[in-house]
Symmetry: C2
């Protein structure tokens, strides 16, 4: 086990790397050539434009203004300055609520840490379990840090009452904060929805599993069904074509166009030599041809194929999938249809709110109900396999944490790794970073699995991926580290144990793994968050694209990759910190400050990123909050059960009935939250729909809704645009607005005053 | 522990008592004077009338036709003969589906028993664990019955694989049968709903938690809200008055009237002496007065008070509770309103389908949301207390089962109880019957608790009571018997055990308690069901009332108490048999035949009772089935966990991962059933509503719906009728129909032919 000095080494390494990342960021962000990497959000909003072209050429790329470098940290107050309502306006509600999770972490853990340090630390430290044994046993099992943990309290001690009382207090405090936050987020969501402008999804419902009819096409069937069952409300509908093949062609065309412009650029720079390429895979082998001509021809060929396919899809009734977007005359009609059951068979004519057009995941609209539930079962089994086959590599990694094991397996390494810094590095840094690499490739697999499950909205896909990732982190990082980390050979034995033994085993191991998790928090939390702000990968990619592909301003816009929050990865990770904080709050409170630093640092960094960088792909109006709330409650219950398991081995058996009450109460709290708040995230109240409808009829009596909705739910490939760009192009309203703004607020980023419009004013936050 | 001979004694006693009950029933039911006790359903239907008054007087009371007595069992084929569609027509869907639960028990357990007897019994019997020890240890711990149970298989034996494989088979078979049954019941429900006649609740929604408005009364507020938010659909509404005090007065008046008619009858029989009574409590003390005059005056006084109260309630705006019944122009409008959320605050304007008028529980309509959730928490805590304070008396009762304990405590009893039959009686019969008495008073308490929880439909109240009772039986009868039954002194130790140990303790004790549960099945199941058919209490009460109160035919109608199914008691008990069957199917399969006999016998008896006796208070169209399905699944999961616990002590640790899969799969099956079927029980599809609406508009264009709904949801006390009689009077349509039928089918019970209307034909089943 690691000692306190190991932890200090690790803390220094991680703080240093975090600091270096921040310094690098502070310098890089000032260079005009990186402007589009660090402030893409403002470019997308049309407020920021390319740095002025006056002055010497070098000024385009490097910032020579020395005074700027003196204010290395001036982005910090800028990131914190923007008030929340403007943040919502600027970046959307999802982002604004996302950073509230970090704030919630602080609200929960700062008071808990203060109390734990005031009460539990003295109780533990004077517990005296190791005061006698520590001399000879220290090197075998426990490190110094255990003096501050519950391990230092001898079995059957009266002192354990303090931990039980604290467990109650921590539970009530956490629930209280969760309740308050749920209430706030619910209000934010409802106000946000109420103030939204007209959007196609407000009028539209998605209907799936349209039963086939021998006499009618899908389109006729849908129209008749809704005309009959929603008379007076039905307006129009849009059938869904299976255009997956066509979408692939469009993607391929885009790729070919990129290659063409690469070679065109190359030729323009060196006009004396026509670039060549090979026709085979990735241009690596095959016949050597003139690149520009070759890709020109390929593109022409593809355009013809694409045209044929486009005609086939539209003409072929087989290409129509049994799903449709049905639009209503009013929001009220759509709200009614989305919330009611249409027929007696709950597997047919399934209606739900249509996702935003840019949120639709088109490939999955055609899956029938039975296949869906089979897919879900198969994916659940696959997830189970994935989670439990990952156990093995993780367990191997964890043995690295145990320096004694390495010496036993590879004795010749002993002289090297026994040296102070090397030993500390291996014990403090390596296990965390290897685990991290494992976890990097995982989210893509999980997203793919979610797609297989058949959800039809990107937001759903992300929510499901997040749920899977959360489960994975729970089992493999938390449970896996705790149980197998103690010793690899325990794994097999553990599998043979009765299922009822697990909480006890977990409870016992928890205090022993405190140092590992402290290291993990520093590597994954501190340094990881600092790396996020530096945006190394987008930085390199942007400059590469700029060098090879960019010709026009439009190309440069496309080369810019603002990225987004990556909800399915970041949220479950955040949950891991909540879990760790809650589990260790009663056991080893010394871990809490590390968590608090993580939350504070993350809040700062992500607030900055949201303001300046990320461009969310869709807006779900914080519909993820019930998941966040539920997962924190899961963490709370796990912390209670592990304490229960731990105390049952401390010969404090009387405590079991007292502690069993806690998870029950917590579960009741969960149910209460569900009843009180969740419907605000799942349903759309009729009164609000009616108010918006009435208002609209009064202000815009001439509105031709049918025309407005005409192309909203057309598959992106039929709009003639590029698939990948649809995310941005789709925001017709917003774009339009921005285009007119551009003229008035060209210097918005410098000249913003408090009298300006919100868009103007937001300029001042992007220093 | 009981031996096989104890069980045979118990089986004989119980079979005999069951047989005696049946003989008594067979004789009593033939007596004309008991006709209204054993065939009240037919009287209520108007098909059966008083026995003809010709012939000697004695024939009115006693059946002298000897031939009838020779066919003692001719009610059995009669009970089985009525086909299901007619049964639904005759007794309602709830009853028809209820007896399907017994059938489901047979469908599940007969194949399981066959397989268990074919495979597990030989495996266990030749296991040989006790073949050596049985000589000296038999009298201490195990009885002969254990030779057929898993206890006879030695630890770590390969034979245990048979039990695991069987556990898999039993699980899949049970789930398959559950799925099939769920599908059938769903179809039955939907067809039943589709074929129903026009009823007020089809057009009506109940809205609760109407927010108070300073400018408007509740009635105005409701009208404005629904006029605005359901334009074109809103028809009318009915506010709810807090008439609880008035209802009490009406009840009291009825009681006084009963007393008056008692004394009037008395006076008529002995005209020479005016009856007297005392004015105090129950006429036991106080001033002596002339009874008839006294009650005449009291009734007059009460009528005046009642009138004043009636006027106060209608006039006083404070007497209006913030709830209302809102009726719509169409079923479609009601379906929309019931299924949607009205406002952004999910605690206000809560809408739900209105229960049938006779199903409304008026007292609870006024409770606000926050109070509701507090009430629920308080009742949950009370239920917890109730369940765990009941542990103690049950544990005391259970020690009675252990004859050795009695001898230890009361050594002087030894010579008496050591005698063969006495010992068998004590061991085999007593524990079951004492437990039974405990359980008799419980349902009333639970119903009272459900009322406190604030449900507003009688069907909900019954469902919630059933849920509580189910939990109670699970903890106290099942777990309580298993754990504390082994030895009372283990109870305290058990409470101090870690929560994780419980499945193991349960698993180990399960095989030891097989004999106890066999006895329990015979007492509660066999004899209990037989006692049900005899209807001792209603029999006595009817004759008492007949003697004291009845003057007119209407009085006789009122004296008749058909009773109803008592869903909140019978269903959870049934579930206990499912649980026992599933738990013991792998452990001690010898218990299964007792379960099968119970289900078969219960099916027969309850089918008879439903046809001839019970008059259901309301019709929920089998809305309870999701509960039934869920509880059988809970039983299945408990059986899997207890097997898991048992095998983990049998040194068959490798089996744990294999067996852990089962509860997971079972849970997935539960979720699948929910998705596939449950909405048919909770929602009302718009298409069906639209079809019925359209049909009605076509066939009855002149229908004045407002007039039809006018008084449907008036509090019964405002209808001038008696509260208690509302249950029957409310069935206006049916009654009306029956009244016209009466003339045509006076001799329906004898002359029914297959060409007759359904009502006519049902006559032939009441022999």
């Amino acid at each position: 086990m690691a000692t306190l000095s190991d932890i200090s080494v690790s803390a220094s390494i991680n703080s240093l790397s975090a600091f270096l990342f921040l310094v690098a960021f502070a310098i890089l962000r000032l260079q005009p050539m990186n402007d589009r990497v660090y402030f893409p959000k403002w470019y997308l909003k049309g407020i920021r434009e390319n740095p002025s072209t006056s002055g010497p050429l070098v000024k385009h790329f490097v910032n020579l203004d020395v005074r700027m470098y003196l204010r290395l940290l001036n982005w910090v107050p800028a990131a914190l300055k923007m008030p929340e309502p403007e943040l919502i306006d600027h970046a959307g509600l999802d982002s604004a609520v996302y950073i509230r999770i970090y704030l919630l972490g602080l609200k929960i853990f700062v008071p808990i840490a203060l109390l734990a340090f005031g009460v539990l630390l003295p109780v533990n430290y004077t517990g005296g379990n190791f005061s006698i044994m520590s001399l000879n046993m220290k090197d075998i099992t426990f490190g110094e840090i255990d003096k501050f943990s519950i391990s230092n309290v001898p079995p059957a001690s009266k002192r354990l009452a303090a931990h039980i009382i604290m467990a109650y207090f921590f539970t009530f405090w956490t629930c209280y904060m969760l309740y308050k936050e749920y209430k706030i987020v619910t209000d934010m969501r409802l106000n946000f929805l109420a103030s939204q402008k007209r959007r196609p999804d407000q009028f539209t419902v998605i209907v799936r599993n349209v039963p086939s009819d021998p006499d009618e096409s899908v389109s006729e069937h849908v129209e008749h069904f809704f005309r009959v069952n929603h008379p007076g409300q039905y307006l129009t509908h849009k059938v869904v074509y299976n255009a997956n093949k066509l979408a692939k062609m469009v993607d391929k065309k885009k790729d070919l166009k990129n290659r063409l412009s690469y070679y065109t650029n190359k030729f323009e720079r060196r006009p004396n030599k026509r670039p060549t390429t090979k026709t085979g895979f990735w241009g690596l082998w095959g016949k050597k041809v003139d690149a520009i001509n070759y890709y020109d021809e390929e593109i022409d060929k593809l355009i013809k194929e694409e045209k044929a396919e486009r005609e086939r899809v539209i003409g072929d009734p087989e290409a129509v999938v049994p799903a449709a977007f049905v639009s209503f005359r009013s929001r009220w009609g759509a709200a009614v249809c989305a919330q009611t059951q249409q027929t007696r068979n709950p597997t047919r004519w399934l209606t739900a709110w249509a996702p935003e057009p840019r949120d639709v995941y088109w490939n999955n609209l055609a899956i029938p109900f039975v296949e869906l539930s089979v897919r879900k079962l198969v994916m659940a089994a696959a997830l189970f396999g994935l989670i439990f086959s990952f156990m093995i590599p993780i367990a191997i990694v964890q043995t690295l944490a145990n320096i004694e094991s390495i010496e036993k397996v590879l004795p010749f390494l002993k002289p090297i790794i026994e040296k102070g810094p090397a030993k500390s590095f291996i014990q403090g840094y390596l296990p965390g970073i290897v685990l991290k690499i494992f976890l990097l490739i995982l989210p893509m697999i999980l997203m793919q699995m979610s797609k297989m499950e058949g959800h039809f909205a990107v937001s759903d896909l992300e929510a499901r991926s997040a749920a899977k990732y959360h489960l994975f982190l729970l089992v493999n990082v938390f449970l896996g580290s705790i149980v197998t980390g103690t010793a690899l050979e325990q794994l097999k034995e553990f599998l043979n144990k009765s299922a009822t033994e697990i909480p006890r085993i977990v409870g016992v191991s928890v205090p022993m793994k405190a140092t590992f998790f402290i290291t993990y928090i520093m590597v994954d939390g501190w340094a990881g968050v600092a790396a996020e702000v530096l945006r190394v990968v987008p930085l390199i990619l942007y400059h590469l694209k700029n060098l090879l592909l960019v010709k026009t301003e439009k190309d440069r816009d496309e080369a810019m990759d603002p990225g987004s929050l990556l909800w399915p990865i970041t949220e479950p990770r955040l949950q891991l910190y909540f879990l760790l904080g809650l589990v260790y709050s009663t056991v080893t409170p010394i871990l809490l400050p590390f968590i608090i630093i993580f939350f504070a640092f993350g809040y700062l960094i992500f607030r900055h990123q949201i303001i300046n960088v990320y461009n969310q792909k869709y807006e779900s109006a914080a519909s993820f909050w019930p998941d966040v709330n539920r997962r924190i409650i899961i963490g709370l219950i796990i912390s209670q059960l592990s304490l229960l398991g731990l105390l049952s081995t401390k010969k404090a058996a009387n405590s079991t009935p007292v502690l069993v009450v806690l998870p029950i109460l917590t579960f009741w709290f969960h149910k209460f939250c569900q009843n009180r708040f969740e419907s605000a995230f799942r349903k759309f109240p009729l009164q609000d729909a009616m108010i918006k409808d009435t208002l609209e009829r009064a202000t815009e009596p001439q509105l031709d809704l049918k025309d407005y909705l005409k192309d909203a739910y057309t598959h992106p490939v039929f709009k003639g645009g590029e698939v990948a760009l649809m995310d941005i192009d789709e925001e017709v309203d917003e774009h339009h607005l921005v285009a007119t703004k551009r003229k008035t607020s060209r210097k918005g980023s410098q000249a913003g005053t408090s009298e300006g419009s919100p868009e103007d004013r937001t300029g001042i936050y992007a220093v």
